[in-house]
């Protein structure tokens, strides 16, 4: 067998290996359940807010936002929903926690949001947005102060 053909064969084996690994991981990873964090923690609130956005349960998502937030004050629920819906498109996404800090009644939760949106043959189809959620404690409940819109889905 010629050297170039041998190389082609190796290349073929690599392709098959990549496909098999990718299919296996995608199939098993797809069934993996995301662990629900405690509702009393800032991370748990951010997770529930994002899950509600994902499920398009806007009433529930809105309930995790701080009513006195500067970004939401004076704005009606209807306006918030319509702006949120206009931000959604057909892209799929996932969110991972990068870092969280709690100081007295304030907390920050840094989240990486990976949005899958193919834009060209050799362009990265995953666009990562880093979002820092600022939360404040009201009573025994954490609420999101900002951001309240979902620009990060773009």
């Amino acid at each position: 067998m010629e050297t170039s053909n041998r190389f082609l064969l190796v290349f073929g084996i690599i392709i098959v290996a990549i496909v098999v690994i990718a299919v296996t991981l995608a199939v098993t990873g797809g069934n993996e359940q995301v662990k629900l964090l405690p509702e009393t923690s800032p991370e748990g609130i951010v997770q529930r807010f994002l899950t509600a956005v994902k499920d398009q349960d806007y009433l529930k998502a809105y309930s995790y936002l701080a009513p006195q937030s500067e970004q939401i004050k004076g704005d009606s629920y209807q306006n918030w929903v319509s702006s949120t819906q206009s931000s959604r498109d057909m892209s799929s996404w996932k969110a991972s926690i990068l870092k969280s800090t709690v100081r007295d009644n304030n907390a920050t939760v840094e989240v990486a949001i990976d949005v899958f949106r193919p834009e060209g043959p050799l362009a990265n189809p995953v666009n990562t947005n880093r979002v820092t959620f600022l939360l404040q404690k009201e009573g025994d409940k954490w609420l999101i102060n900002q951001p309240v819109d979902i620009w990060w889905l773009y």
Binding site: S4, V34, A95, S96, P121
Partner: protein, 563 residues
């Protein structure tokens, strides 16, 4: 007349023609307002200003245009070289392109109106007036251009640009219109659930689409079958064939095929969103594939038919096509593998530390569907054309390996892989150094260089494989003697098969001189081995120029220098 003076007259002619045209459109539009739309002058608000402007433009622009254009025409009648001059060719073809585009656009609007029962309230006076005026402008300049012929090479080339630009644009209108029509018809089928209210199919959008199909078809037929006929020898036609129609349709068809495969795979893997209208994408993706396939087959066949007349031409055309398709296939294959590699990398990153808190259903399936659909489309395409290319290289020997399209193909891939590797390595080293120096080397660093790792992993084998081929070509002599000798053949019969064989062996065309003395009876014949030997002798000749004499069965190779 000096060049500056000629430029001056042509520019002023163009400007005054613009003023005259705008004035005529203005006045004609006003006339339509009163005649077709059945308004009275009193009913049309503020027409005095429009009327005054129109009259002023015609009264000033008309005589000036006659003056400047008349001067040019008188000069053209006196000076024979003016007719074939590049300046005149640019002027005429510029006016032809602009007026043709406006005429086509406005004709399409008029056609859509005619199909809509000619309702007076939907009549567009402005576009109808523009159609009439620009059609007259186009026809006049077309007659002028056709009457003069295309005496010089520049005039011919400029005219070809005009013809192929219009031909390509019309083909795009025709194809886009057909896809749009089928898509609209598909979406309007009464099979989709959840439709609350359905509008009329015969709406202004459909009429406009049909108008575009008819206009595009007519214009394409005119420019392609009539204007571009008997132009098989031109290089621009080859560019039109291979870079525009064949490559363009292949790209469009492959993208649609990939999207179709991706959507179907995603759905079959459990994608459950928007089930009601999910398969509506077939309304545009399948027609694009079909239309692109028709354009691809027709133009490929036509290019091959035209190339049949000359073996070298045919070989070159076939080669260009094979390398272009292999390039498309390889590009898509690489893209698919990069996407698929993202899955294990993402899995590694997530399993190391990062905590996924929300994941939309279909996140992994999206990656998998996209990657696999790209592989489904690209692997057969690349393998087929790459094997054909390898077979050509085996049989064609060093000539095939030295072919410009093969050199470009290899070096573009090697260059792109090197650039990709360099960019990836810069990012990887930067992320690592940054992590070390800031004491933050961890999963986040790995996450930041994920894309670079994906592309590096694919770019390395692609680079190595193509470097080996390039090196193999080099060893076989593909890079040596890349500057071809200027070969002139003196022979009795300029259609001798021996010359064709020599051209094939050399890989390029030779200049032919026909012996004008006594009739030659013995046409020289060369075997394949003899032709190979002769080609080697020409390449090894100690001068840049070689005279090859094929006369009465004898062959002489005479290297010579000019001057």
């Amino acid at each position: 007349m000096s060049t500056v003076r000629r430029v001056f007259f042509y520019i002023l002619t163009l400007i005054t023609l613009g003023i005259l045209t705008a004035g005529l459109i203005n006045l004609l539009s006003l006339s339509f307002d009163t005649i077709i739309a059945r308004f009275t002058l009193a009913e049309i608000g503020d027409i005095k200003q429009q009327l005054s402007l129109g009259i002023a433009m015609v009264v000033i622009g008309g005589p000036l245009w006659f003056l400047f254009w008349g001067t040019i025409q008188r000069h053209a009648a006196d000076a024979a070289d003016e007719l074939g001059s590049s300046l005149r060719a640019f002027f005429l073809n510029f006016v032809l392109i602009v007026s043709a585009f406006v005429t086509i656009f406005t004709f399409s609007v008029l056609l859509a109106w005619l199909m809509g029962a000619c309702r007076a309230d939907q009549f567009s006076q402005g576009s109808t007036a523009a159609f009439i005026v620009f059609a007259v402008v186009w026809y006049y300049h077309w007659r002028v251009s056709a009457g003069e012929g295309h005496a010089t090479q520049v005039a011919n080339t400029v005219r070809r640009w005009y013809v192929y630009i219009l031909s390509a644009a019309a083909l795009i209108w025709l194809s886009a219109g057909l896809v749009q029509l089928i898509n609209t018809a598909f979406i309007s089928l009464p099979i989709w659930e959840g439709v609350l209210v359905r509008g009329s199919f015969w709406n202004s959008g459909i009429r406009s689409t049909i108008a575009w199909i008819l206009t595009g078809g007519l214009v394409w037929a005119f420019y392609w079958f009539y204007m571009a006929r008997a132009d098989s020898k031109s290089s621009l036609r080859q560019v039109y064939f291979y870079l525009l129609t064949i490559l363009g349709s292949a790209v469009a068809g492959l993208i649609s095929l990939t999207v179709t495969a991706y959507k179907i795979l995603f759905w079959s893997l459990g994608g459950d969103r928007d089930v009601v209208g999910y398969f509506q994408f077939l309304g545009w993706s399948v027609p694009i594939i079909l239309v692109a396939a028709c354009i691809w087959f027709y133009h490929l066949r036509k290019a091959e038919e035209e190339a049949d007349t000359e073996h070298q031409h045919q070989l070159s055309a076939r080669r260009v096509h094979h390398y272009l398709m292999a390039f498309l296939g390889l590009g898509t294959l690489i893209a698919g593998l990069i996407v698929l590699l993202g899955i294990p990398l993402d899995w590694v990153i997530n399993s190391l530390k990062l905590e996924t808190i929300v994941m939309e259903q279909g996140w992994w399936n999206n990656h998998l569907s996209l990657g696999i659909s790209m592989l489904i489309v690209s692997i057969p395409l690349w393998l087929y054309y790459w094997w054909q290319i390898n077979a050509m290289a085996e049989t064609g020997g060093v000539v095939e390996r030295r072919a410009r399209s093969r050199r470009i193909y290899l070096y573009v891939i090697i260059g792109a892989a090197v650039v990709m590797l360099a960019a990836d390595l810069v990012n990887i080293v930067y992320q690592l150094l940054n992590g070390v120096l800031s004491g933050d080397l961890g999963v986040e660093t790995l996450r930041n260089m994920r894309w670079s790792l994906q592309t590096v992993f694919i770019a390395v084998p692609v680079l190595i494989y193509h470097l080996r081929i390039a090196k193999q070509d080099q060893l076989l002599g593909a890079e040596t003697g890349a500057v071809p000798k200027k070969v002139t053949v003196l022979l009795g019969d300029n259609k001798s098969p021996a010359v064709l064989l020599i051209e094939q062996k050399l890989g390029y065309k030779v200049r032919r001189l026909r012996y004008a003395g006594q009739p030659v009876h013995k046409v020289p014949q060369l075997s394949d081995v003899e032709a190979d030997k002769l080609a080697s002798e020409i390449r090894a000749a100690p001068a840049e120029n070689v005279m090859l004499v094929l006369f009465e069965g004898n062959v002489m190779v005479l290297p010579y220098d000019e001057g």
